[in-house]
């Protein structure tokens, strides 16, 4: 069909599948289902062709209303969709480029700013101490023992400040966020103002008047370092401690299959909350498998494909909105009257699928257990005796892999996981299990249940670009009832937050001696 070739052409050209193109092992099915998913996300008009005339906005595609031969004009429809897609494509590619360039620029910019600020902060006390010696050495009073003691304290405090700043700020960046981190910016401004004010004071009162009291100058430098340590304490409290106490319970739902998790977050800005949620997503949510969604999509398509609405009045009689309205209403009415047995099909299909999966699973378990009995770990003494026919874990894995390969492949195909695991990765995993004396059940665990995204190979989640969609500003804090979306290429995460309620607790004292009991008697005696 023509549509098939254009679809695959799209997936070749799109920026996103630059990544997927690298991995030729992925089946074509995945390409197709992926491109179809993205299609349905972008706009309503780009559906499978039978659906388009029913739901499309006729005001936009007015020239197609008269087209009764939509089956033959499929190429024209995909022509328009290809246009719109490629335009969006270009827009997205340029946006990606801009973003990446912009982000890099911004990261370097902030980094250089931070380095300049850091150097300023560290060199200022030293400058305060050294400048009098350079500028008016003869007028300066000599430094007594108390003064020299202060030198030691300045040195150690600067060392502590250096270590603390390294611990708090010099960590590898976890993510690139859309807006600047407000607290950090405020702290930087505060430090800058602080250091500038100290320099002003120093410049006016000490440099200009050429003060001879060196001890006073040293104490001034010590006070600067103390104040910097306090600012660092403020930084710890604002940046790290404030968000530790849980304040909000957020509910994260994946839009494609409804997987939901709940997390507790403290008082964070929306962008930082989004970052925390994405990190939790990679560790907690089972990996997103688009192949599992095809069943519901085909059912939806069947619902729509059952009816065709023709407009026999021709255009121009009603307004475009009226036509669309009447079409959809006619469709809904017809669908309500139609006796739908699709629920029956669903039930039997699911039961059948369940049976098939269980049968394949049983075969797989037996095959793996049998394969594992073929190899045995060699003991130390035996190693010296029989050097021949000895294998290292990788070779052992390769030796027993063929006996279980077929069963494993069939099982993965039945559960639609075959694109998640390549043969290479399976053999690696097998070698790993053999090395660590794991049982067949332990080996199979990673194939029987879908694990979190982070456990799969990096190709799965390396090319992830997340977009934060929010009505409130992303630097504003989380509030009760905040809703935002984290959009990825294949799916989106819907996040709602609720405030953990204020708890009013009162106390009641119970005297330990007040625990007394009596028997409940009810006897009946015959006389």
């Amino acid at each position: 069909m023509d549509t098939e070739s254009t679809y695959s052409g799209y997936s070749y050209y799109s920026g996103r599948s630059r990544g997927s193109h690298r991995h030729g092992e992925r089946s074509r099915d995945r390409h197709k289902s992926r491109s179809k998913d993205s299609r349905s996300e972008k706009s309503v008009t780009i559906n499978t062709p039978p659906a388009e005339p029913l739901l499309g906005d006729t005001a936009v595609r007015g020239e197609q209303v008269q087209d009764d031969n939509w089956g033959e004009t499929t190429t024209a429809i995909t022509g328009t969709s290809e246009h719109s897609l490629s335009q969006e494509d270009i827009v997205r590619i340029t946006k990606d480029l801009e973003d990446s360039v912009g982000l890099d620029c911004r990261r370097y910019f902030t980094r250089t700013l931070a380095i300049i600020l850091g150097l300023l902060v560290f060199l200022t006390p030293l400058a305060f101490l050294v400048l009098p010696h350079i500028l008016w050495p003869d007028k300066l009073q000599s430094c007594g023992t108390a003064c020299e003691g202060l030198f030691i304290s300045v040195a150690f405090k600067l060392l502590i400040l250096l270590l603390a700043v390294w611990a708090l700020f010099f960590r590898p960046a976890r993510a690139g966020l859309p807006r600047v981190y407000v607290f950090r910016a405020l702290l930087a401004v505060l430090v800058l103002l602080f250091v500038i004010s100290y320099w002003l004071f120093y410049g006016v009162r000490i440099l200009d008047s050429q003060d001879e009291n060196y001890q006073g100058i040293v104490q001034y430098a010590v006070s600067l370092v103390d104040a910097l340590l306090f600012i660092h304490y403020l930084a710890i409290v604002l940046l790290e401690l404030r968000q530790l106490q849980p304040c909000y319970s957020v509910c994260v739902t994946r839009s494609t299959d409804g997987e939901t998790r709940h997390y507790n977050l403290g008082q964070l800005s929306i962008q930082r909350a989004a970052l925390a949620i994405i990190e939790h997503y990679y560790c907690d949510f089972p990996v997103h498998n688009p192949a599992l969604l095809s069943a519901s999509k085909s059912r939806a398509a069947k619902h729509l494909a059952g009816l065709k609405v023709y407009n026999v009045d021709g255009p121009g009689n009603n307004t475009a909105a009226g036509i669309a309205h009447s079409q959809s209403r006619a469709m809904i009415a017809a669908a309500a009257r139609r006796r739908d047995t699709s629920h029956n099909e669903l039930y039997y299909e699911e039961a059948e699928h369940e049976r098939r999966v269980r049968k394949r699973r049983a075969r797989l378990v037996v095959a793996v257990e049998e394969a594992f009995t073929h190899i045995k770990r060699m003991q130390e003494e035996e190693q010296k005796k029989a050097p021949g026919d000895v294998m290292d874990p990788r070779e052992a894995a390769q030796a027993i892999f063929p006996s279980m390969a077929r069963a494993l492949q069939k099982y993965l195909r039945t559960t639609k996981q075959q694109h998640c695991h390549s043969m290479e990765s399976i053999q690696q995993h097998l070698a790993f299990c053999i090395t660590n004396n794991m049982t067949p059940k332990a080996f199979l665990e990673s194939y029987l249940t879908p694990g979190p995204t982070v456990q799969y190979s990096r190709d799965f989640w390396r090319a992830r670009q997340w977009t934060l969609i929010s009505e409130a500003s992303v630097t504003s804090g989380l509030k009760d009832g905040t809703i935002f979306l984290l959009k990825c290429v294949d799916f989106s995460l819907v996040v709602t937050s609720k405030k953990i309620p204020y708890i009013q607790m009162s106390e009641e004292y119970i005297d330990p001696k007040s625990h007394k009991f009596v028997l409940r008697l009810q006897s009946e005696t015959s006389v």
């Binding site: 409940r520 008697l521 009810q522 006897s523 009946e524 005696t525 015959s526 006389v527």
Partner: protein
């Protein structure tokens, strides 16, 4: 039949005289009692006031001496041979009823229907 502490208890009672029957070496009366000040009054199915700790007749053996004398199930025993039964423990009540030397027990029992009957009779015959 409820009592107010400190106030005398008034009730309409019926005199029941039961001849004990000799069965082997025991003298039996042919009914069972429940209740007592050491028992849980809430579980008494026959009392109207669930805090009434009096002695109640819980079972009557058919054709036994008590049945023949006219004792009914659910009766509250107020006196046994002159001994008060409204403020006794279960065991005390049993002892008063099963004295080996007595062949006959004279009970004063009360039940709801007695009150009704008296009220009814009061209403039916207007005062002269």
């Amino acid at each position: 039949m409820s009592f107010v502490p400190g106030q005398p208890v008034t009730a309409v009672v019926e005199r029941v005289e039961i001849q004990k029957l000799r069965q082997g070496e025991n003298l039996i009366l042919g009914f069972s009692i429940g209740g007592g000040i050491d028992q849980d009054p809430g579980q008494n199915p026959f009392s109207e006031d669930k805090s009434d700790k009096g002695i109640y007749v819980t079972r009557i053996s058919p054709k036994g001496p008590a049945d023949l004398a006219g004792l009914k199930m659910g009766d509250k025993i107020m006196q046994v041979n002159g001994w008060d039964m409204t403020m006794v423990t279960h065991d005390q009540a049993r002892k008063k009823l099963t004295k080996k030397r007595e062949d006959v027990v004279r009970l004063l029992v009360t039940r709801k229907s007695l009150e009704e009957a008296v009220k009814h009779s009061k209403c039916s015959y207007p005062k002269h």
